[in-house]
C-alpha cells in the first residue's frame, strides 16, 4: 500500500524520523501507525500465546 503525504508533512516526517533515531521515514510512520492501531486491536488468546512459548529454554 502506498500512501501519499503532503509535501510539507513529508518533509517534517523525514526530519522527525532522523532526529528520533529511526532508520527511515517509513519506519517512523509505521511505528506511529502500529502504536495507534494496537490500541484498537484485541489481544490474541492467552492460551495460544503461552503455548507458542513452549520450548524457549530460558523459561520453564
Amino acid at each position: 500500500m502506498n500512501i501519499k503525504l503532503k509535501k510539507e508533512l513529508g518533509q517534517k516526517v523525514k526530519k522527525v524520523a532522523a532526529a528520533g533515531g529511526y532508520s527511515s521515514p517509513e519506519e517512523f510512520v509505521e511505528h506511529v501507525l502500529e502504536r495507534e492501531i494496537a490500541k484498537l486491536e484485541d489481544a490474541q488468546s492467552d492460551e495460544e500465546i503461552v503455548r507458542k512459548l513452549k520450548g524457549l529454554g530460558y523459561i520453564d
Binding site: 532522523a18 528520533g20 533515531g21 529511526y22 532508520s23 527511515s24 519506519e27 517512523f28 511505528h31 494496537a38 484485541d42 489481544a43 490474541q44 492467552d46 500465546i49 503461552v50 503455548r51 507458542k52 512459548l53 513452549k54 520450548g55 524457549l56 529454554g57 530460558y58 523459561i59 520453564d60
Partner: protein, 694 residues
C-alpha cells in the same frame, strides 16, 4: 560427517544441484508451490496456489529471465562504484554465542586455544561490551543494526501485551490468516498467515545490499521471518517448530496410559503384538473449526535385538542411544494439503519399559511451511546440497535434558550434530563468496555452558565438557582463518559471556513482599502469567529475564501509577531492591538500572522500566520469569541448566578477535555494523549509534 571435517563438494556438484533445483522448481508443481504457498504451522494456513497465481508466476518468471542480463549489469555497476573506496573484499563474522572472555583468556594463557591466540597476537583481542540486558536476541540485534535496544525494539526474549499482561515473543509474531472463508466446519484461508519480524531499524547487510554488496547471513538470532535484501539468509532464534512453538519435544513411552503435557509432551506407547504402536501429534489442522492436532500413527517392530520404526512410507532402525537421521513427517490436513516437518528419533530405554524421544518437529527445509530463508529457495538449496538440518530457532533441546527425557550424552550428540550441520553451511558460504560478508552464529557454545556449567571443576565425567567445547570452537576459528587472505577482514565475536546460576530471584515475590504487587487471595502464590494478580492495587510486575515494569496509567490497560508518580516510585523501588540480601548476607543484585537512563530511542516506551543487574551466581528465578509470584523470593536452581548470562551486563562482556589491529579502548557489540560498512567504503548512517572500529 565427522566433527572438524568439512563436507567438500566440488564446484561442479554445487552447480549441478543448484541447476537441478531450479529446474525442479520450474517444472515440478510441488516445487513451484513451495514458493507460492506458505502453510503456517499451528498458526494458520495460507494456500495461494490458485491457477491464476500460477499463470501470473509463469509470465513473471519469463519477464524476470528476460531482464536478468540487465539486472546483472546494473548490479555490477553499483558494486564497482561502491567498492571503489572499500578496504576489503570480504568480511567474515564468526559468532560464538556466549563465548566467555574469562574462560577464553585462561585457556589461551594455558596454550589450549592456539588459533585464537594466534589471531590475538597477529591482529587483536579485547572484551566486547554487550547490551543491557545481556541476552542473545538483544545483543545480536544490536550487532545487526548498530543501534541500542531502544532503536531496534528487542529488550528481552519476552515482552507483554499492554492489554492482558500476557507474554509475547519479543522478536517475531506469527498470526492466523485474516481472511478466511467458512464452509460449515471447514475454514479456507484467503490470505497468508501474519508474519512479522518485530526487530526494527535496518541491519548492515541490507545497507550493503543496497550498494550491490551481497552477504550470506547464517543463523544470526532474530532473523525470522527473513527480510528481503540483496543476499542470502537462513533464519535463526525465534523460528518456530511445525507446531508453532519454540521447540516442543515428544516422548513416547509405555510408562503412561494417557498423554500428558506437563513438562513436555508425553504420549503413551501401546504394546501391540511383538511391538508398539503410537501416534505422533503435529500442528493443529487450521482448515477445520477448532483445529484438532493432526496425527500420524506409527509402529515399532522388534526383531531379535533390533527395533524398526515404521511411519507413513518410511522405516528406520532404532538403536539405543543413537539418533536416527532427520525423518520426514507429512501431516495431511482436512483439505488434503500436506504440511511437512522433520524430526529425529532416539530410543532411550527398551526394558522393562520402552521409550522413544522425538525432537521438536522442525520446519522441513526442503518443503518449508513458513519462510525460513531469503531467498526462499536458499533453505532448499542448503538441504539439497548438505542434507536436512535443524531449522527451529533454539535447536538444541535443553528442555528435554532439563526434564531427564534425554541424558547428557544424547544432548551432547545432538548439539554437536547441529554444530556440524551449521559448519557445513558456513563452509559452503565461505567457498562461494568472493566479495561481501559471510556471517554465521554458532549456538553450541551457549547451550553447552547453560547445561554443563555446574560440572566444571567437579570429579564428574562431564567436568571437561565446556573446556572441550572451547577447544573445538578454537579449531573452528582455525579452519575459518584458512579462508582469509589479506583482503579479508575476520572477526570472531560473542554476544555475552557466562557465569554460574545457583540461586534464582523472584522479583514478583519481592514486589509482593514489599507492597508493590498484590494478589486477589492475599498472601498465597499466584499462577503463571499473573493468574490471581490484583491489577487494581499492583504498581509493578516482572516478566521475562532482564527486567520489570511499572503498572503505568495510560500505558498498561489496568495501570494505576500516574505519570507524575513514576520517577519517584522508580527511585524508591530501585533503591530498596538493590538492598536485597540472601540468607548468607550476599547481595543477589549488583545494580538496578532504570532503562531510561541507559538508552535513548523511539522504542524506549516498550522497554522494561528497570533492568536488573544480578550478581554472579544469581538470575531471575524460573517462576519469576513467567510472571509467577512464589512463596519465597530466593530459591536454589536445581536444573541441569546451571550457567547463565542474565546478570549485570558489566559482568559478562563478550569477546572480540580480529585479524586487524583494533585501537578502540572499549569496543561494543554496536560497533560491528558500522565497522562492516566502513570497511566497504560506506559511511555509517547517522541513526547508527556504534562507531567504526577500523
Amino acid at each position: 560427517m565427522k566433527a572438524g571435517h568439512f563436507f567438500k563438494p566440488g564446484g561442479s556438484l554445487r552447480t549441478a544441484i543448484a541447476i537441478a533445483f531450479l529446474a525442479a522448481a520450474w517444472f515440478h508443481p510441488h516445487g513451484g508451490a513451495a514458493q507460492l504457498a506458505y502453510i503456517g504451522p499451528g498458526a494458520g494456513i495460507a494456500f495461494l496456489g490458485s491457477f491464476l497465481t500460477l499463470i501470473a508466476g509463469f509470465f513473471l518468471s519469463l519477464l524476470s529471465l528476460f531482464l536478468w542480463p540487465f539486472r546483472m549489469a546494473w548490479r555490477a555497476f553499483r558494486r564497482r562504484k561502491s567498492l571503489r573506496h572499500a578496504q576489503v573484499k570480504k568480511i567474515i563474522f564468526l559468532g560464538l554465542d556466549g563465548f566467555d572472555p574469562q574462560t577464553t583468556e585462561r585457556l589461551m594463557a594455558e596454550g589450549k586455544l592456539p588459533n585464537l591466540a594466534r589471531l590475538a597476537a597477529e591482529g587483536s583481542y579485547s572484551r566486547l561490551r554487550t547490551t543491557f540486558p545481556s541476552l542473545s536476541p538483544v545483543a545480536w540485534s544490536t550487532f545487526a543494526t548498530g543501534v541500542s535496544p531502544a532503536r531496534h525494539n528487542i529488550f528481552d526474549f519476552l515482552d507483554r501485551s499492554l492489554k492482558s499482561y500476557q507474554p509475547r515473543l519479543s522478536s517475531a509474531r506469527v498470526g492466523k490468516p485474516e481472511r478466511v472463508l467458512r464452509l460449515g466446519r471447514r475454514r479456507i484461508p484467503f490470505s497468508r498467515p501474519i508474519l512479522e519480524l518485530r526487530r526494527k531499524s535496518r541491519p548492515f547487510w541490507k545497507i550493503l545490499g543496497e550498494r550491490g554488496i551481497g552477504s550470506t547471513i547464517l543463523r544470526v538470532p532474530v532473523t525470522f521471518p527473513p527480510e528481503k535484501f540483496d543476499g542470502r539468509l537462513l533464519s535463526a532464534m525465534s523460528t518456530p517448530d511445525l507446531k508453532g512453538t519454540q521447540g516442543s519435544f515428544s516422548q513416547f513411552t509405555t510408562r503412561i496410559e494417557k498423554a500428558t503435557y506437563e513438562n513436555g509432551s508425553r504420549y503413551p506407547l501401546r504394546r501391540d503384538g511383538g511391538g508398539f504402536a503410537g501416534e505422533i501429534e503435529g500442528p493443529d489442522d487450521m482448515f477445520v473449526e477448532g483445529g484438532a492436532p493432526l496425527r500420524i500413527p506409527f509402529r515399532i517392530e522388534r526383531r531379535g535385538g533390533a527395533c524398526e520404526l515404521r511411519v507413513q512410507r518410511w522405516r528406520c532402525r532404532l538403536d539405543p542411544g543413537q539418533y536416527t537421521d532427520w525423518q520426514r513427517l507429512s501431516f495431511r490436513t482436512a483439505l488434503g494439503v500436506a504440511v511437512s516437518g522433520k524430526a529425529r528419533f532416539l530410543l532411550t530405554e527398551t526394558d522393562p519399559e520402552f521409550s522413544v524421544y522425538m525432537s521438536p518437529i522442525n520446519i522441513d527445509p526442503e518443503r518449508p511451511a513458513l519462510p525460513i530463508s531469503h531467498p526462499p529457495y536458499y533453505a532448499v538449496y542448503l538441504a539439497n546440497l548438505l542434507g536436512s538440518y535443524a531449522t527451529v530457532g533454539m535447536a538444541e533441546d535443553t528442555w528435554a535434558l532439563n526434564e531427564g527425557v534425554i541424558d547428557e550424552d544424547a544432548f551432547l550428540e545432538q548439539a554437536w550434530s547441529i554444530f556440524e550441520e551449521r559448519e557445513a553451511m558456513f563452509r559452503d558460504a565461505l567457498e562461494t563468496t568472493r566479495r561481501g560478508v559471510v556471517a554465521c552464529v554458532f549456538d553450541t557454545s551457549d547451550r553447552l555452558q547453560h547445561m554443563f556449567y555446574r560440572r566444571t571443576g567437579t570429579a564428574d565425567r562431564h567436568a571437561g565438557t565446556i573446556e572441550e567445547m572451547y577447544r573445538r570452537m578454537d579449531a573452528l576459528a582455525g579452519r575459518t582463518l584458512a579462508f582469509a587472505d589479506r583482503h579479508t577482514a575476520v572477526f570472531v565475536l560473542s554476544d555475552h559471556g557466562f557465569c554460574a546460576f545457583r540461586r534464582g530471584v523472584n522479583i514478583n515475590s519481592w514486589l509482593r513482599e514489599n507492597g508493590y504487587l498484590h494478589l486477589r487471595n492475599g498472601d498465597g502464590e499466584s499462577g503463571s502469567f499473573f493468574e490471581g494478580v490484583d491489577w487494581g492495587r499492583t504498581r509493578a510486575y516482572a516478566l521475562g529475564l532482564g527486567g520489570f515494569y511499572l503498572n503505568l496509567q495510560g500505558r498498561e490497560a489496568r495501570g494505576i501509577v500516574a505519570a507524575h508518580e513514576a520517577d519517584q516510585l522508580k527511585r524508591e523501588i530501585a533503591g530498596r531492591l538493590a538492598a536485597l540480601r540472601d540468607n548468607n548476607g550476599a547481595a543477589p543484585i549488583r545494580t538496578v538500572y532504570q532503562t531510561a537512563s541507559l538508552y535513548r530511542g523511539p522504542y524506549l516506551d516498550a522497554a522494561p522500566d528497570f533492568i536488573v543487574g544480578y550478581n554472579e551466581g544469581y538470575r531471575c528465578s524460573w517462576e519469576g520469569a513467567v510472571g509467577k509470584v512464589a512463596a519465597e523470593v530466593l530459591s536454589d536452581n536445581h536444573k541441569a541448566w546451571s550457567g547463565d548470562h542474565c546478570v549485570d551486563p558489566v559482568l559478562v562482556p563478550g569477546v572480540l578477535f580480529a585479524n586487524r589491529k583494533i585501537a578502540a579502548a572499549d569496543p561494543g557489540i554496536e560497533d560491528l555494523a558500522p565497522t562492516a560498512l566502513r570497511l566497504f567504503g560506506i559511511a555509517p548512517p547517522a541513526w547508527m549509534e556504534g562507531k567504526p572500529l577500523l
